[in-house]
């Protein structure tokens, strides 16, 4: 670049393209090479030839020189045109230099549902798209683009960099707001891939501009202020031009339905279901007299007026009649506000079915207590059917007839039994292990080490020392103990535990701890295995009396305690809830189900919340012939209807993860940012006069000149050729 003092600067936007100007030497080299290799011939008519040559030489030489100059000029003009010369009237020549080179713009647009928040009549998402379009239109000729959608998961909309602005604009127009949150890790992965591809084509890393257009939601970006995400962002900022543009404006006001649940999805309570909902006020103003409606299959069945203080969350309940259909869609809604997507939440309640439990006892009468707990009346009820068998009979039982299998005092199981139980759980069944003094840990641990036979997800290490252990309800977070939260005198905390099995979870294994021993290990743990749950009670319920046969001291007196029955029933409900869980998912999570043993050509179709119909993502047939289907494309909030033979076979709802409803943002200053001329509010393109249109004009002039020279060269060459012919 050549500075012209206060006038401005003249330079080349793509100076690298000037290397093509070296092609101008090719005609010259060819000319010289040809000159230096004449053939030698003895000639008689030399005088005549001399006269001819003398006459011709001057004209021919002039024409040849002209032709040579034209050819060199063609190459030079082309190279200069490609180098995109500019003439800037800006006095800030440093700034010109920074932006004049061709750049790769990686535009990241946050498409999480919080971007749907409206300010006046424009959503944050629209603002981000408009800003992206502005960046594209104000970019220099020769700049390339990539587009990444920050969502969950994030996706590269334009992963192969393009110079086609129209294509980028089209992609921006087609970009849709998602009903998901944002997964920053996958977004950074997408950016890394684009950067690596750009580096492969020798793109200067300092010319890669990453512009993130986001509302800087706290839940998404707070994790990026520390740890590995911060380091990854720092690397991007150090190596490239990273900038964040926040599209969050003003103080957000938002009220959301953050949770809905049916308190007993499998049973009825006096013929009605109880629906619990949580309404939260994330705004900075009190909300008065806000109606909350409960809709069953689209019909309002209950309405309630609530007031919400600043930051307050209120629980709202409603008892609703159970519909006759197999599944009931219950929706809890509040009036629309600036963020509509979180003003409704659905829950699907399946019609009551009898829970069938197979109790397997290691010794005769070993499962009597838990059977009583599950069915206290001792009679066949409509809610629970229990069949007790000995461990010897387990191998001959057809497990698919049961909702749950309870292993009480079973010392050990064979590999084939473990495989069958594992498949049973994978397909949605519930398994409850009761480990006690009779358990042979070596056998279970051996089984647990095998990936194909592992049911537990941990190793039994040793029984604890005998003492009076206290229960830790873990803040009643687990649904197993949640009902005890309002009934502190129900005896849960005073449940007598003397000994229990200590466990060592497998590396990387996620276990849900429902109940724990204070200042020690877990007491009740659950593990999600496929579509079902495998739960372990690490101190099998006893009456507190020493065994008459073995004189072993009792490990607990749980069975005598008032907390025993509800605890067992809650635990059973938790491990048999897979059907309800699979019908109530978060946006982005897969929905799955089983069809039982059906023909191999069975088909399943799905109708999404937007009314679009299509096949489910996958149908898999298990070894026993049962077919499992999975549908992973749940990017929209709402009800998904799954059709078989053109009839609705089952329904599922996908709700948004309320994590982003708070709309709380972090400051861009807490994130790593490149030290460049890019301002926090964006890129100051107005300071320089380097618009693509202006560069286009200069390039056009050069191309016109190039065309003129090409025409002149062609005419001259044709004229010379004609004479030669």
């Amino acid at each position: 670049m050549i500075t012209l003092g206060i006038i401005g600067a003249i330079g080349l936007a793509s100076s690298g393209m000037l290397f093509w100007g070296a092609c101008a030497l090719i005609p010259l080299v060819l000319h010289l090479l040809k000159r230096h290799r004449p053939q030698v011939i003895d000639w008689a008519v030399i005088e005549l030839l001399r006269k001819v040559v003398e006459h011709q030489t001057r004209r021919v030489r002039i024409e040849q020189l002209l032709l040579l100059i034209m050819r060199m000029l063609i190459c030079t003009l082309l190279a200069v045109a490609l180098a995109r010369p500019f003439l800037s009237t800006s006095s800030n020549t440093m700034q010109v230099d920074l932006v004049a080179e061709p750049r790769l713009w990686i535009i990241v647009i946050d498409s999480s549902y919080s971007m749907g928040y409206r300010h006046e009549s424009t959503t944050r998402f629209d603002t981000a798209k408009a800003r992206a379009a502005e960046i594209v239109s104000a970019s220099n000729l020769g700049d390339s683009f990539a587009l990444v959608r920050l969502g969950k998961p994030s996706q590269s909309m334009i992963s192969r960099v393009t110079f086609d602005r129209a294509a980028v604009s089209k992609q921006l127009d087609e970009l849709q707001l998602q009903d998901t949150g944002a997964d920053l890790a996958s977004c950074l992965h997408s950016i890394d891939e684009i950067v690596q591809n750009a580096r492969r084509v020798a793109m200067d890393p300092r010319r890669i501009h990453i512009v993130v257009l986001t509302d800087l939601g706290k839940d998404t970006w707070e994790p990026a202020t520390v740890g590995s995400l911060f380091q990854r962002l720092s690397r991007l900022a150090a190596n490239h031009q990273l900038s964040f543009e926040s599209v969050a404006t003003g103080t957000p006001a938002n009220v959301a339905v953050t949770e809905t649940s049916a308190s007993r999805t499998r049973g009825e309570f006096q013929g009605r279901l109880r629906i619990d909902a949580s309404i939260s006020n994330f705004g900075s103003a009190i909300v008065n007299r806000m109606p909350v409606q409960f809709l069953v299959d689209g019909q309002t069945t209950h309405s309630e007026i609530i007031d919400l203080g600043i930051g307050q969350t209120r629980a709202v309940q409603a008892d609703i009649p159970h519909a006759n259909s197999a599944q009931t869609v219950v929706a809890v809604t509040i009036p629309n506000d600036r963020l509509d997507v979180d003003n409704r939440r659905d829950v699907i309640v399946s019609k009551q079915k009898q829970t069938r439990v197979l109790c397997v006892e290691g010794r005769a009468g070993g499962a009597r207590l838990v059977s009583l707990a599950l069915s206290p009346t001792g009679k066949a009820s409509t809610e629970v059917e229990i069949q007790t068998i000995s461990s010897i009979e387990l191998s001959s039982q057809e497990l698919s007839n049961w909702h749950a299998v309870l292993l009480s005092g079973v010392k050990e199981i064979s590999k084939s039994e473990a495989s069958r139980l594992r498949q049973f759980v994978m397909q949605g069944g519930g398994l409850l292990h009761l480990f006690g003094s009779e358990t042979v840990s070596e056998s279970w641990n051996r089984m647990s080490k095998s990936n194909t036979h592992d049911l537990l997800g941990f190793q039994l290490t040793e029984p604890s020392a005998e003492q009076d252990w206290r229960i830790d309800p873990l803040k009643y977070a687990s649904p197993v103990v949640a009902p005890f939260a309002d009934f502190l005198d129900a005896g849960l905390l005073t449940t007598p535990i003397f000994r229990y099995w200590r466990i060592q979870p497998h590396r990387g294994q996620e276990l849900t701890i429902d109940l724990a021993i204070q200042n020690s290990g877990p007491l009740v743990v659950r593990r999600k295995l496929g579509r079902g749950w495998s739960a372990s009670w690490l101190s099998a319920p006893e009456t507190g009396q020493s065994s008459l046969d073995t004189s072993r001291p009792a490990w607990n007196a749980i069975a005598t305690w008032p907390s025993f029955v509800p605890l067992m029933q809650q635990l059973m409900e938790a491990i048999t809830s897979s059907e309800t869980e699979s019908c109530n998912v978060l946006v982005g999570q897969p929905i799955s189900g089983t069809l039982g043993v059906v023909a191999s050509d069975a088909k399943m179709r799905v109708v999404g919340p937007d009314g679009e119909e299509g096949p489910v993502d996958s149908l898999e047939t298990a070894d026993d012939g049962s077919v499992t289907w999975t549908h992973g494309r749940t990017s929209q909030r709402g009800v998904y209807k799954f059709l078989r033979d053109n009839a609705v076979a089952t329904q599922a709802v996908a709700n948004i993860d309320p994590i982003e409803s708070s709309l709380e943002s972090i400051g861009a200053g807490r994130l790593p940012k490149s030290d460049s001329t890019l301002t926090e509010g964006g890129i100051d393109h107005t300071a320089i006069d380097l618009s693509a249109e202006k560069q286009d004009r200069i390039a056009q002039m050069l191309l016109v000149a190039l065309l003129a020279v090409l025409v002149a060269e062609s005419c001259l060459a044709w004229s010379m050729g004609r004479r030669l012919a």
């Binding site: 290799r37 003895d42 000639w43 030399i46 005549l48 006269k51």
Partner: protein, 300 residues
């Protein structure tokens, strides 16, 4: 090609080394194809009258008969027996040029023509003199009708000294100084000299009442200029070399060459001189008979 004509093919002749052998091979073939000598002079023995037909030489019209009978007749004479033929061969450096596709150089080709004509003249009992020239008359074989004249001619042509340059004017001066009796003068040369100088020389010959035949021997490359790249042309007569892009000057060269030849032809026509242009790649069987036939028609 019949047995006799194969001797006229330049490629065949080029394989025969010595000039004497090559010339005999040629003339034997030539004689086998000719029955009557076309080289006839003016006879003093009147033979008969013949009615004038357009194209006849008006000098042969018998004006006395015309005056008496008011009819136009031309006089015909018996064949001349005392023909004197002078053969002048250009042996300058430029005649040694041989093009890329030519089997014989211009000099070799010209020597064959001279040998052939010598033989023809001798076989009809006429006298022939042979001269080799460049800047001057380098060698001279006086007129003779002896059969040994042919061998002498071969010896002269093979051993004549040569100068690099041609000066036909000086040569003609020397020639006219030596020759007192007019005859047929056949000049075999590439005629790459200034047309004005050549014209002066030919005028002198015509002034001496010689019947002149000019045979311009050129190589095909000199006429067609078949080169297509930058070439350094080295002058054969000690002239400075010329470097040129052959493609660029070819057209202009061809034009200039054509103009030079047409200028010579026009001059010859003016001076009543027979002009024949020969290419060294042409078969003598195809070239010589038409020339001789034309000559016969002309003298008839």
């Amino acid at each position: 090609m019949n047995e006799s004509q194969k001797y006229f093919d330049p490629e065949t002749l080029a394989r025969i080394g010595p000039l004497g052998l090559r010339a005999r091979a040629l003339v034997e073939g030539l004689v086998a194809g000719l029955h009557r000598s076309p080289l006839r002079g003016h006879s003093i023995e009147f033979a008969q009258h013949r009615e004038y037909t357009p194209g006849d030489d008006v000098r042969q019209i018998d004006w006395k008969v015309f005056a008496r009978s008011d009819k136009v007749y031309v006089k015909q004479y018996e064949d001349e027996t005392n023909l004197l033929c002078y053969l002048l061969l250009d042996t300058s450096q430029s005649m040694t040029f041989r093009g890329p596709v030519s089997p014989l150089s211009k000099l070799e080709y010209a020597q064959l023509i001279v040998a052939c004509l010598t033989y023809l003249v001798i076989t009809q009992q006429d006298s022939v003199a042979v001269g080799a020239f460049s800047a001057q008359l380098d060698a001279w074989l006086p007129p003779s009708s002896s059969p040994s004249q042919f061998d002498d001619m071969v010896h002269v042509l093979e051993n004549s000294p040569s100068n690099p340059r041609t000066h036909l004017g000086e040569v003609i001066h020397q020639f006219t100084a030596r020759v007192a009796r007019p005859g047929i003068v056949i000049i075999v040369s590439d005629l790459l000299d200034d047309v004005q100088r050549l014209t002066s020389a030919w005028k002198l010959l015509r002034f001496q009442r010689h019947d002149v035949i000019v045979m311009q021997v050129l190589d095909a490359a000199e006429l067609d200029f078949p080169f297509d790249r930058t070439t350094r042309f080295v002058g054969l007569e000690g002239l400075p070399e010329v470097v040129a892009d052959a493609r660029l000057v070819a057209a202009a060269y061809r034009t200039a060459m054509a103009q030079h030849c047409s200028g010579l032809q026009a001059t010859c026509r003016e001076l009543d001189i027979d002009y024949v242009q020969l290419r060294t790649n042409q078969s003598l069987a195809k070239v010589l008979p038409p020339i001789l036939a034309r000559r016969r028609r002309r003298r008839a």
